[in-house]
């Protein structure tokens, strides 16, 4: 089995077609008849544009408008005065068409690649694609016709370029395997749009595999199974059929409200880690963001992010959400992370040490600059603040006092923000569960972080395989915590969400409905699945399940029972 990056979900079983690359070498030379050379160049560009337009038309039908735009972009790019204009000037000056093309394209490839911005770096791949395509035309190199691949073909290539993807016939290509690429590369985006399973970054795929051999591409797991036996083919066929069936069914839930079988409404939010994830959350049909982790702003750098820099990121997410709820969690970081400039000391037990709200309250300048950035972003949407790792009421009070200080600073500078911004508690410690009734009086909302709540309640590190058996949100102690937190929130009339992985677990959903959770926050790909699972339960049925579960004594009993009801 070969391992790669799972870039486009689904399973494909088919025969390998290796797409080889041809040498595009040429001898650069000075040209005497510059008019003829210019004509040769213009003919090649025209042929390229015509071909690209045809491909874009085909892609528009098979994958949609957005994907066609990527290809049309190649035409806009080559026709830019900075491209064709400069190239023509070079040719008029005596350079051969190939060299002029390559030199100018390389200049832009270099410029785009060095920006450090992912989207702009992807444009470098487009320029490379343009260069290869026009060079092939100039040199008269024939390219493999992917469009003529027979049904049941798995394309294996060093990289799938946008122009190659254009030749893909969805009916015939059942999988894609490449040696390069990531989740966000063109190949991945196009494969997902075409709904073709894809595994990228498989080392030496083009040499390890040979044309005609049967392989299985598992784009959900990132696996390429070589020389599969009959049993394996059968297992994967069944898996593929189940995947396709479920996918069709889930699409019925897109654009619908999230309700249980009685019609009671819930909020179904997403967890995100960057502003770009906000776009994914919206595409996945999320109704807001229940947890925006802000650590990305602080990682992999040498100095603190400025207030402005943070503001831009939060504002960007707020603008994407267009007025939908956006819960921003303040910095949740401690001695387990290597962030030299924060001066976090190595400690014996970082998860019980100086971290998250504790660290922030001890570094008030850092904390206030984050709070000001969040407040400024609140002028652009329904932004809310959430404090992590709260264990005592004083922490909430101190945090809220700092928010007030940040507000008066902004007022003094005449900067707009939401005066009534909601401030909530991430209930993820045993202490916060026990004093939930006290916290609920002073917080505007709760969000249950089940991953840490489970760890802190069970005193078990899930990364340690010797104690991982204790780490389960279905432990009676954890369930009682969850039930209590929700009950205390409801008694004070504040909303209560769950942003841990358990919120998407079909076995947990009836319990949460019965306890009275108001908001589920899950990963973007889980949105439709969770909406479907919530819709299956009436309050009365969920209550019956919860009653049974809460009378049980062990985790094993609970999970065995829940497996029979979902």
């Amino acid at each position: 089995m070969l391992k790669g990056i799972a870039a486009s979900e689904g399973i494909g079983i088919g025969k390998v077609m290796i797409v080889e690359e041809h040498s595009l070498e040429y001898q650069p030379k000075q040209v005497a008849d510059t008019d003829a050379e210019l004509q040769r160049f213009r003919d090649a560009v025209e042929a390229f544009c015509k071909e690209t337009e045809e491909q874009a038309e085909a892609v528009r039908k098979s994958a949609g408008e957005k994907e066609a735009e990527i290809l049309m972009g190649h035409i806009y790019m080559i026709k830019d005065p900075g491209m064709i204009g400069t190239m023509e000037a070079q040719i008029t000056g005596g350079q051969c068409a190939e060299a002029a093309l390559e030199q100018i394209c390389d200049m832009f490839i270099e410029a785009f690649s060095s920006t450090g911005d992912e989207v702009t770096q992807q444009r470098a791949a487009d320029v490379k694609d343009i260069k290869t395509a026009i060079l092939s035309i100039l040199l008269g190199v024939k390219t493999v016709k992917i469009s003529e691949a027979p049904a049941g073909t798995v394309i294996v290539a060093r990289e799938v370029t946008p122009s190659m993807t254009a030749g893909i016939n969805k009916e015939n290509i059942v999988g894609i395997v490449t040696e390069t690429g990531s989740q966000t590369s063109h190949s991945a985006i196009l494969a997902r749009a075409l709904e073709i399973p894809a595994v990228l970054s498989v080392e030496n795929a083009t040499t390890q595999l040979s044309s005609g051999e049967l392989i299985i591409v598992d784009g959900s797991e990132g696996d390429v199974i070589t020389a599969p036996g009959e049993a394996e083919v059968q297992t994967y066929s069944a898996k593929r059929d189940a995947y396709l069936r479920e996918k069709r069914e889930l699409e019925n839930y897109r654009g619908k409200k999230t309700t249980n079988a009685n019609g009671d409404e819930y909020e179904l939010f997403c967890n995100i880690g960057t502003p770009k994830d906000a776009v994914k959350a919206m595409t996945a049909d999320g109704e807001g963001v229940g947890l925006f982790r802000t650590e990305f702003l602080f990682m992999d750098r040498n100095a603190l992010p400025t207030e402005d820099e943070q503001f831009e990121a939060y504002k960007q997410a707020a603008l994407v959400l267009k007025g939908k709820g956006l819960i921003i969690r303040t910095l949740d970081i401690g001695g387990d992370k290597e962030i030299p400039y924060l001066g976090l000391e190595k400690e014996e037990n970082p998860f019980m040490g100086y971290r998250a709200i504790r660290y922030c309250l001890g570094h008030r300048d850092l904390f206030k600059s984050q709070l000001k950035a969040i407040l400024r972003a609140s002028a652009y949407g329904d932004v809310r603040i959430m404090f992590p790792l709260i264990t005592a009421v004083e922490e909430l009070r101190e945090g809220k006092a700092l928010v007030e200080e940040a507000k008066s600073d902004l007022r003094a500078s005449g900067i707009e923000f939401d005066e009534n911004i909601k401030i909530g508690v991430m209930t993820e410690t045993a202490a916060s569960g026990v004093i939930a009734h006290l916290l609920a009086k002073e917080a505007d909302f709760f969000s249950i972080g089940t991953n840490d709540l489970t760890g802190y309640t069970m005193a078990a590190d899930r990364g340690n395989s010797d104690v991982a058996y204790l780490y389960s949100p279905f432990q009676p102690s954890v369930l009682m915590m969850i039930q209590r937190i929700i009950k205390c929130a409801r008694e004070e009339g504040i909303p209560v969400g769950m942003c841990g992985e358990a919120a998407a677990n079909p076995m947990m959903i009836p319990l949460l409905i019965s306890f009275g959770l108001t908001e589920f926050s899950v990963s973007a790909p889980s949105v439709l699945k969770v909406r479907k699972n919530i819709s299956k339960w009436t309050k009365a049925e969920a209550d019956k399940v919860a009653e049974a579960v809460m009378s049980m004594t062990t985790e094993a009993e609970v999970t065995a029972y829940l497996k029979t009801v979902v």
Binding site: E69, A111, F112, D117, P275, V279, E312, L319, V320
Partner: protein
């Protein structure tokens, strides 16, 4: 010379399609049109230069037009950016 400061409002910023529509629209004018962003002057008539400038959602930019039809050029640029390129 006329100019105006603006904030990019569409989620994807100046990505391929808006950058290309914008550059084409600006190309119609006789005036020089420049986008000031992060201390750099970007030729607004060149898609490639706009892409290289990495202009994102939320960024503050200044559009500067200079020439015979500078008012019309600036008006169209402002309209396009403020409407988020219709996205």
């Amino acid at each position: 010379m006329v100019s105006k400061k603006l904030t990019i409002v569409n989620a994807q910023g100046f990505h391929m399609r808006p950058a290309s529509t914008f550059a084409t629209a600006m190309g119609k004018y006789a005036s020089d049109v420049t986008i000031k962003h992060n201390g750099a002057d970007v030729n607004a008539k060149s898609l490639m230069n706009i892409i290289a400038a990495c202009i994102k959602c939320g960024n503050e930019i200044e559009v500067v037009a200079n020439g015979a039809d500078e008012n019309d050029a600036l008006a169209e640029a402002v309209q396009m950016i403020e409407s988020g390129f219709g996205e």
